[in-house]
Amino acid sequence: MAVPTLLVLVVLAFVLMRLAPGSPFSSERNLPPSVEENLNARYGLDDSLGEQLLRYLGNLARGDFGPSLYYSDHDVADLIREGFPTSLRLGLAAMILALGAGVTAGIAAARRPGGMLDHLLMGVAIAGISVPNFVVAPLLILVFAVWLGWLPASGAGPDASLTAAGMVLPVVALALPQFAYVARLTRASMLEVLDSSYILAARAKGLPERTILLRHGLRPALLPVVSYLGPATAAVITGSVVIEEIFGLPGLGRYFVQAALNRDYFLVLGVVVFYGLLVVIANLLVDLCYGLLDPRVQRQ
């Protein structure tokens, strides 16, 4: 399934990208027509679209992502290779934080639905979902970097390196919406599970509440969280343009937006393919986890 899905994705991205008006080489400046022709010829943009697509697919099959049209000193593969580690570090840290805090908050809220704690946690979750990153991140910087001076304002830090301290604020900003989703999902599915007959049986047996929640309730309750987690992790570890630009981080996220604006065709395709590949892998992992969490899936 994975290969045809990716193929459709590449073709679709290729066609959409080429339908957009404007050339990768246009700017407010004057580019002599002869130079533009040469550039088009050099990158093979003067052939028919069909030929270009076939050539691109052929190169892709050999693992060649092509050159970047805008960052002319770099290959697309270089840019992805250099950007991904940062995005991966931030993304994984954010997902671990979001998962730990979110599941805990979800369980706590589900214990007494409608209670004080439930309202408080779900209030935070609603804020996490609805307040966008580009508001949260500058606020965090203002408080923790400018006023308190505890943490650097940019991930890149004053000594031009990605320090652990510099990662705190971007990770928190990145984790907040994920935390919110995870907490809400956990709460909702936990409530559903707690309503089921086997929990009733467990209660009737007189098991302590802790055992009921964590041993019998949590595993089935995690299923929707896990299926959310797959694609979400793929999205988060490929970076966020907002977080990267605000904190000056060298991740991948910016390319999804900037490359499209620059009509950097090969870079757009490169990050789309890369992201598609990660989503496919993440979904595969989710399927495997299902088997671990739910014995019924295993038997099928």
């Binding site: 957009a20 008006p21 404007g22 050339s23 246009s26 700017s27 407010e28 400046r29 004057n30 580019l31 002599p32 027509p33 002869s34 130079v35 040469n38 550039l39 050099r42 050159p67 805008y70 960052y71 002319s72 000193d73 770099h74 840019l79 250099e82 950007g83 580690p85 940062t86 991966l88 570090r89 994984l92 840290a93 991140a137 500058p138 910087i141 970097a145 400018v146 001076g149 650097p152 304002a153 940019s154 991930g155 890149a156 830090g157 004053p158 000594d159 031009a160 390196s161 990605l162 320090t163 990267e244 630009e245 605000i246 904190f247 000056g248 981080l249 060298p250 910016r254 009509r263 671990l292």
Partner: protein, 542 residues
Amino acid sequence: MRQKIVLAVIAAAAALILWRVFQPQQGEDVAAEADAGPTIAVLRRGNGSEPEALNPHNARTDSAFNIVRDLFEGLTSHDPDGKVVPGVAESWQVSDDGLVYTFTLRQDARWSNGDPLTAADFVYSFRRLADPATGAYYAASLSPVVNAGAIIAGSLPPEELGVEATGPHTLVMRLRSPTPYILDLCTHPSMSPVHRPSIEKHGDAYGRPENLVSNGAFVVSEWVVGSYVAAERNTEYWGNSANAIDKVIFYNTVDTSAELQRYRADELDFTGSIPLPQFNWIKQNLGKELHISPYLTTYYYGLNLTRPPFAGNAKLRQALAMAVDRELLTERITGTGELPAYGWVPPGTNYYTPQSFSWANLAPQERIAEAQRLYAEAGYSRERPLRVELRYNTADLHRRVAVAVGEMWKEHLGVELTLVNEEFRVMIQNIREKQVTEIFRSSWVGDYNDAFTFSQFLHTDFGLNLVGYANPKYDALLEQAAAETDLRRRRALLEEAERLMLADTPLIPLYFHVSRHLVKPHVRGWRDNIMNTHYSKHLSLQ
């Protein structure tokens, strides 16, 4: 039992991956080393958007040029005030007809790898810049040089370019016409020499930090795309002893609000710009550190002269130009020190008196009355208003200016303006095609400090004449000026051309831009200048 084993294996694998992922990156080791040694002077510059290239022939935006100016040096360079001073060329002679420049290069000019820098390097670099196969955006920097135009167009081989090394340190440049601004042009980053052996070895990868051999005060050490470019003192640079900065870091600060906060958190020594919505706050709280300086840029509304309603309708164009209250615009709408523009060439341009529309000195009411009269003569009225579209690219400032100008036109003339917001490259394409575009917003940045960089924009045959202006008289004046060796007569010709063009009103200048920086008090040697060039080697830290 089997489940537990699978879980344990997955957990172990996850732990291993996490440990790999969170291992310190290279940068941290470098920082740790730096901490151990004697303190070095590190200049931290806010540099706007990500530089697209460090190879001078591929660079095309200001953020890349700022870095290239530190890494490379052309025949001439700038002093802290933006005036032209000798660079690699320590002196030059000009022939009496102004057509031949003979540059004498410094004996001690060297590349960062120790290779001597000779006139042959410049010949190679200029030929490569003109060669269409290079695809250089700024190939036109060479256009005053003999045969450059034909080489760029692909009809002559690059070897025919009018530059020649007559000795290891003597470079002769032959020009098509006397071009007094050629020395200004030589400061442009695209005119920097590039290192031939490295380009022949690495090709396109020459611009990568591990391959980049350069000849300026600094040599690039690290480029983390999306975050920063770091460069270290080039000990081979001829002026190294006067350089007080050991290392310079150009931070990617594309988000100006985040840049301001990084500046406030003492992570930047100066900013590349400021967030305009916070201008008043900055003025009140950081007023002493705020530097605003005129900049060679005109913000204008272009009119498509190839189609109705503006083709052949000078009165309508004049009426629209007159009905804009530029003082109101610069005080209330932009409000960050911009200057109202009643002409095309910005003030501060070398050897030039800025010209204005003939009606610029009329009192506001008279001006409006005159605009209304011209509007009526052009065949429009409140009952039969002009319905027209204005295209602008997505940005808060452009939207606010467009709304304000639309309001002024509506109030004074009854024009019904439709605002069309387009993504930048779509807008550029529409402007170039001249089909759907009626009015568009744009700005023109001077490449060098001479009126010609502005005059040329409206020459019929200039490739980027976005409005489609074609006036043989204007072209003739420009050609006369180009052939003129006497600076005073040349200046008079260019000024006359601008007056002629303003009377035709092919575009509506609105205001002249300013550059804006926040500079920490401990940065010494900072000078505001019209070129907005700030070489790291001119600065020091206290």
